[in-house]
Amino acid sequence: MKAHRKQPLYLAFLLHRVSGLALALFLPFHFYVLALSLQGNQKLDSFLHWSQLPLVKFAETGLVFLLAIHLLGGLRLLALENLPWSNAQKNYAAIAVASAFFVALGFLLRAF
C-alpha cells in the first residue's frame, strides 16, 4: 500500500468499498437460492442441507461481518455528510469495525 494511504480513515474507506463489492458479488447467488424455493421443496431442502456444513457456516459468518461492516460504515458516512461535523471519525470507524466483529462472532456462536 502506498505510504500516503496508510492512515485509519483510508482503511475505513477501503473496507467499506471492498465489503460493498463482495456483497454485490454475493447478491446473484442469494437470489439463485431464493429462486430454488420456486422450483419445489426438494431442491431448496437439498441446498439447505449443504448449508449445514461447517465450512459454509464459516463463510456465512464472513458474510455477516461484511454486511454489518458495510451497514455501520454506511451509517457513519451518512452521519458525516448530513449531521454537524464531528472530529471523532476515527473513533466511529473503530466502533463500526468492533461492532461488526462482535455481530459476526455472535452469529458464529449461534451457528454451532
Binding site: A3, H4, Y10, L77
Partner: protein
C-alpha cells in the same frame, strides 16, 4: 548514481531524488551530510549547491508561510521547509519526489496551474457587493458563520491536500480539497454575495459529492485544516438547496436555486 560530492560516512543520509520531466525520469541517489535541526528543504538545497546545480525545485519563504516547497517525502506529501529530517528518516534513507496529481515540469518542480484553475472553477474569489466608498462591514469574531469560515481560512495553497487525495487521481476533473475548502469558507462569509453561483459550481459532477471522505487531506494538511469537514458542509448546503428549491445544474433545467439556465 552517486554525485561527485558524495560521501559515505556514517554522518550522511542516502537521498533518492526524482530527476526528469513529464515524459520520463528516474531516481538519482545522493549522499547528503546530516546536520542538527536539518529540514528536507535543507537537504534539497544542499544537493543543488554542492552536488548538482541542475536540480530544479521550488521554494520561497522557508518558514511555512508561502506553501511553495511541498514535495512527496517517503511517499507522503509534506511542506519540506518545516519537516525535520530526523522525524521522517527511515533506515537513514529519504525518497523525495514532486507532488502527486500534478504534471512534472522538471525534477521536483510540478505545474500547479490545474490546482489554481480549480480554485477559479469553484468560484474561490471573494465577491462583495459594497464599494470603497461604503464603510467596512463589521463582523464579530463570535458570529457562528464567521467561526466556521475562520476554521477554513488558513490555507497556504501548498497543494499537499491535492496530492494526498486519491479522488483527484481517479477523476482528473475533481475540484479537489483545497478549492472546495476555499468555497466553503466563502459560503460562510457574510459579506460575500456569490453564494448561489458558487453552490452551483461545487454541486456538479466534479464537485463536493465526489469526495469519499478518506481524509488524507485532513491527515496531511500542514496547517491542520480539515477540508473533508468543509466538503461535508458543502454537501449539506447543496442538499438543503435541493430540498428547498430543486437542485438540477443541467443546462435548460432548473438549478439548485430555482433558476433556469441556458
Amino acid at each position: 548514481m552517486s554525485s561527485s560530492a558524495a560521501t559515505s560516512s556514517t554522518g550522511s543520509i542516502a537521498v533518492s531524488v526524482w530527476r526528469g520531466d513529464a515524459r520520463h525520469g528516474n531516481f538519482q541517489l545522493f549522499q547528503v551530510p546530516q546536520q542538527p535541526s536539518q529540514t528536507i528543504l535543507d537537504v534539497v538545497t544542499w544537493i543543488q549547491r554542492h552536488a548538482d546545480p541542475g536540480l530544479s525545485y521550488r521554494f520561497a519563504c522557508r518558514v511555512g508561510m508561502c506553501g511553495s516547497c511541498a514535495m512527496m517525502v517517503n511517499g507522503i506529501p509534506r511542506w519540506t521547509c518545516r519537516t525535520h529530517v530526523n522525524k521522517v528518516l527511515r533506515d537513514n534513507r529519504l525518497t523525495i519526489e514532486p507532488l502527486r496529481n500534478m504534471p512534472i515540469i522538471k525534477d521536483l518542480a510540478c505545474d500547479m496551474s490545474e490546482f489554481f484553475d480549480k480554485w477559479k472553477q469553484a468560484r474561490g474569489q471573494f465577491e462583495g457587493s459594497s464599494t470603497r466608498d461604503q464603510q467596512v462591514a463589521a463582523l464579530s469574531p463570535g458570529l457562528p458563520r464567521r467561526r466556521i469560515a475562520d476554521a477554513a481560512t488558513e490555507c497556504i495553497n501548498c497543494g499537499i491536500c491535492y496530492a494526498a487525495c486519491d479522488v483527484v487521481s481517479w477523476n482528473r476533473d475533481y475540484l479537489g480539497p483545497a478549492a472546495l475548502n476555499r468555497a466553503w469558507s466563502l459560503q460562510n462569509d457574510e459579506r460575500d454575495c456569490a453564494g448561489e453561483q458558487r453552490l452551483r459550481a461545487v454541486a456538479g459532477d466534479a464537485g463536493c459529492h465526489q469526495c469519499h471522505a478518506q481524509q488524507g487531506c485532513a491527515t496531511y494538511c500542514p496547517n491542520e485544516l480539515n477540508p473533508t469537514a468543509s466538503i461535508a458542509g458543502l454537501k449539506r448546503m447543496v442538499s438543503q438547496a435541493w430540498f428547498n428549491k430543486g437542485l438540477a445544474c443541467h443546462p435548460g433545467k432548473k438549478c439548485g436555486l430555482g433558476k433556469r439556465h441556458a
